[in-house]
Symmetry: C2
Subunit: 335 residues, 2 copies
Amino acid sequence: MSLDTPTQKPHDRLSATLADDLVAVNTLIRDRMASRHAPRIPEVTAHLVEAGGKRIRPMLTLACARLCGYTGDDHVKLAATVEFIHTATLLHDDVVDESEQRRGRPTANLLWDNQSSVLVGDYLFARAFQLMVEPGSLRVLDILSNAAATIAEGEVLQLTVAANIDTPEDTYLQVIRGKTAALFEAACEVGGVIAERDEKTVKALATYGDGLGVAFQMADDLLDWGGVDGGAKLDKNIGDDFRERKMTLPVIRAIAAGDADERAFWARTIGKGDQQEGDLERALGLLQTHGTLASTRDAANAHVDQAKAALTALPDDPIRDMLSDLADYVVARLN
Amino acid sequence: MSLDTPTQKPHDRLSATLADDLVAVNTLIRDRMASRHAPRIPEVTAHLVEAGGKRIRPMLTLACARLCGYTGDDHVKLAATVEFIHTATLLHDDVVDESEQRRGRPTANLLWDNQSSVLVGDYLFARAFQLMVEPGSLRVLDILSNAAATIAEGEVLQLTVAANIDTPEDTYLQVIRGKTAALFEAACEVGGVIAERDEKTVKALATYGDGLGVAFQMADDLLDWGGVDGGAKLDKNIGDDFRERKMTLPVIRAIAAGDADERAFWARTIGKGDQQEGDLERALGLLQTHGTLASTRDAANAHVDQAKAALTALPDDPIRDMLSDLADYVVARLN
């Protein structure tokens, strides 16, 4: 979040508009992550849930429900559901990635142990399913349970293609649709479903969420290289994906554009995981040479445009404008 | 399974009676664990799902539905759901316990990696939720999502009380109700719910499942010490719980009955995890001295009796008799 403009960020405007709903979501989250029998659970989850995540996913559910004129309470439950699913995947991701930091704080697997992260993640998944049953909508259950399966599938796919330098772009898209966009999409879609809006509206919300989610993840993958002009600010937060041998779009495109010598470099560093002093710098240099940081930003922007185009089918409302600005901001923050 | 009587085991009689349904369950399991995008998933799950588990949980759902006169197809979906939940917990348990063998074969975390076990477990959980939504019964969803939360809570509780030699018996009961009996109970209960039976019948099925599950886990914990006269067959399959410092009933009762010297022994071996040559033998000797292997069997039998008593509220039917025999067998196999 390096962009500081005089105007408020779209995320903060949404937060302010949905303030009461967000308070209700936070209360529900704290309430439902409690466990009478296992005090370790709230310890681990509080560490993560209260670590100041931006609550972007639950905010999407709230915003979409409100935008569709929803006046009940179930959007709060579904927003908390979505945050629980997200938090559970974070706990499991940190085990899988052997991460030591998240949001600038030590990860749960480091503070407690991998066992706690696995099992507390399972608990949050189960809590999410309990919560999503409560509104009594089978359609909502269908959407969210499908999203959960797609997320898990995306995570497994990511694991199996890691270190494979022949990963094609559409596999990358599959991975990020699974690990990120599926939950954005479902979070938006259920907002329209509980408001009982027509199919066209629900579909538009889903399309917005998908575009936003894909753009968000592409931007994230770009930020891992320091943004569009990464080299300028090479620091210790840069290159995690390279070290973990993840095949993200900037790398996939650089390999495709590279010569035999460059391919050998990627085969050694990502394919075999043999990384030495200076390799990260060379990798970054190759991305810059082939312009794949900029072209990844352009790809993200195309998904932003898709997201914004979908919004035109929705009611003209200040919330709609904030959602549109939010889509822009996902990529704008890179500059 | 050391008991070989001339008569067929109750489990095998149930299998034979429910043969067509079980074939449908197996087909559905294979079908739903497939993933178009992530071939790693069926590899990992096939290893586990097809490793010749006894399918006891799905069989309970099938048996209870049939016993209640159910004639539809949804019991097959729910049986597969229950097996998916069970398989997911096995995958995660093996990561948590750092196990290397399950059912006499190397575990998935050893054959692939912990990452695959965590993520494929998540995939199976999500698949379970997708499947349980399909019958369209909110009551079934409520029961199974509650069971999933109780399972996760029990697993976390087990983790947090491991190595705590002051663990009381009711905490142990809480742990095994969570990690084992909750799914047995739900598996039975949903059979009655989809058959639309009255509350009394549904409650009786739940009580049967709970009693069976508690007895099953107590028997399992006893088998980890080699059964009621454990010492006679001390071999390498004995003592995993001791090495993992799990507080199971035979140990809890031996500590309660022991003197200061014995307490110091447990504090060193289980409390601190400082285990030396000969400690397992001494631990087993203490359980025998205090008769806690036999008293654990008695405790298991009390739950078997509870399970069988509940069955009297159910229709007189050969399946009911097999369920009753199954409860007996859970403990009888120890002798």
